[in-house]
Symmetry: C2
Subunit: 276 residues, 2 copies
């Protein structure tokens, strides 16, 4: 799993790379089998949709779920990010986003790095987003939408939206989005479970409400260059991690074979990780 020069050039130009079906059905099943158990738990890491019990996002499963702890060390996901940054990476944020059938609400237009700089004092945009599809993504279950090349503008002015959904977000105003789309258009990668998207942490993205009867569960990992670790601990640790230890990859078969992984939060979230 090494990116070639055309892929690197494309990433720099458009801000994302799409790898359809990078993980096999057998590998993904190990993860999807675990999701209902995770979403059923009542712990602070499960943020539910406004006015519904559906899970909008689950945080930090790599610290209390064995399959997701193995995914967090998967070379097919980690190595290309290390290659692009030219250094080791640590896990800044780990989410399983529900975007559940019927109940999955919108994510407004935003840049992830905007939040990390404002809230977490991450020095540079040297953190990568990785999305891994646990369900098929099609035109009806609210795929991620990207504005290609929008990452080239760096951090764009944003306002803190505390009301639209159940999760606060630094969102970009309509005039700016219209101008960006006029230049770059919109793309929405679709594909089978096991597909992966790498996208720049300044790439502007959003997704609409999922009215379909198909869940669109995805894992979103944010891998930060170790030298670029966050400086401010304003958000709870289960949202913005403070362990900057470089990720050590497991072998390529780590989803289908059971490797030993630490699960420090298996018996509950430490009190210190819940408050800011």
């Amino acid at each position: 799993m090494k990116l070639d020069s055309r892929q690197i050039e494309r990433f720099e130009r458009e801000g994302y790379l799409f790898f359809p079906a990078l993980f096999s059905a057998d590998e993904i099943r190990v993860l999807t089998d675990e999701v209902p158990r995770l979403f059923a738990q009542h712990r602070p890491e499960n943020v539910r949709e406004k006015g519904s019990d559906a899970v909008r996002t689950n945080f930090a499963a790599h610290l209390y779920s064995r399959p997701f702890a193995r995914l967090a060390r998967h070379p097919r996901m980690v190595l290309p990010v290390m290659q692009l940054f030219g250094e080791a990476v640590y896990m800044h944020q780990f989410k399983i986003n529900g975007k559940m059938a019927f109940d999955g609400d919108v994510w407004q237009w935003h840049q992830d790095y905007g939040t990390w700089r404002r809230d977490d004092d991450m020095p540079d945009a040297r953190a990568m987003n990785v999305a891994i599809f646990l369900d098929e993504v099609n035109e009806f279950n609210a795929p991620l939408m990207f504005i290609p090349s929008s990452h080239r503008l760096g951090v764009i002015e944003a306002g803190h939206d505390l009301t639209t959904t159940s999760y606060p977000l630094w969102t970009i105003d309509h005039g700016t989005i219209a101008a960006l789309v006029a230049r770059g258009g919109i793309v929405a990668p679709k594909g089978p479970p096991g597909s992966m998207i790498l996208f720049h942490s300044c790439l502007v993205h959003a997704s609409t409400a999922n009215l379909s009867p198909w869940n669109r569960v995805s894992v979103y990992l944010s891998l930060c260059a170790v030298s670029n670790h966050i400086r401010r601990f304003q958000r709870p640790e289960y949202i913005a991690h403070r362990d900057f230890t470089p990720i050590e990859c497991l072998p390529d078969d780590c989803l289908t074979r059971d490797y030993d992984v630490p699960l420090p939060w298996r018996d509950g979230t430490p009190a210190s990780a819940v408050t800011a």
Copy 2:
């Protein structure tokens, strides 16, 4: 504009027919030029989105706007409906739905005839929905989604949703939608401005939120067989019309040439048409 036997068979099987670019850009411009003036008016016919000033739906423009009064009599739209019903039709409902850029909210899964039977006591599903695109419809601006063949089940049980959006709707529960989609799938016709969809008034449909910077304004006309006129006048007349006079078509060039049309509500909505 006469449907052939394959089209009729297809309509009966799938519940809809799609005619891309049926109206020309010049014809559609006559309508789109009029929309901002209509949406800017403060009259009861403009229903705005929850928490925004954007127009969700405008009712009865054919009674106070010259271009839309001409559209309401257009043979390319009226004749195929008369052909399918084998009798004259009247205008049961006339809407311009905004689904505006950024602000356009969801329409939950529903059947139109469900509402017309429950609220208006329309005897049979002998009323046709016609959607005419005033903007391009693409995968990003929240196209109408249909469940093909769902019209064959007749009226499906529904609950009155008074809270999700700014407009009350009889909506169908998630389990039923999942079962219908498992059989029929979902389709979302896309195309240039001027495209037209005819769809059965029992066809289950929905549309998601429009997060794109592109408006998706459409005209929705509901043409009812004259013998099937509504019996109950529970909803205001601007929503469910009580004039059962058969539509008389204008010539085919009626959008680009100025024919004389009555505009009875030009100076305001009659008080009797606003209350139930």
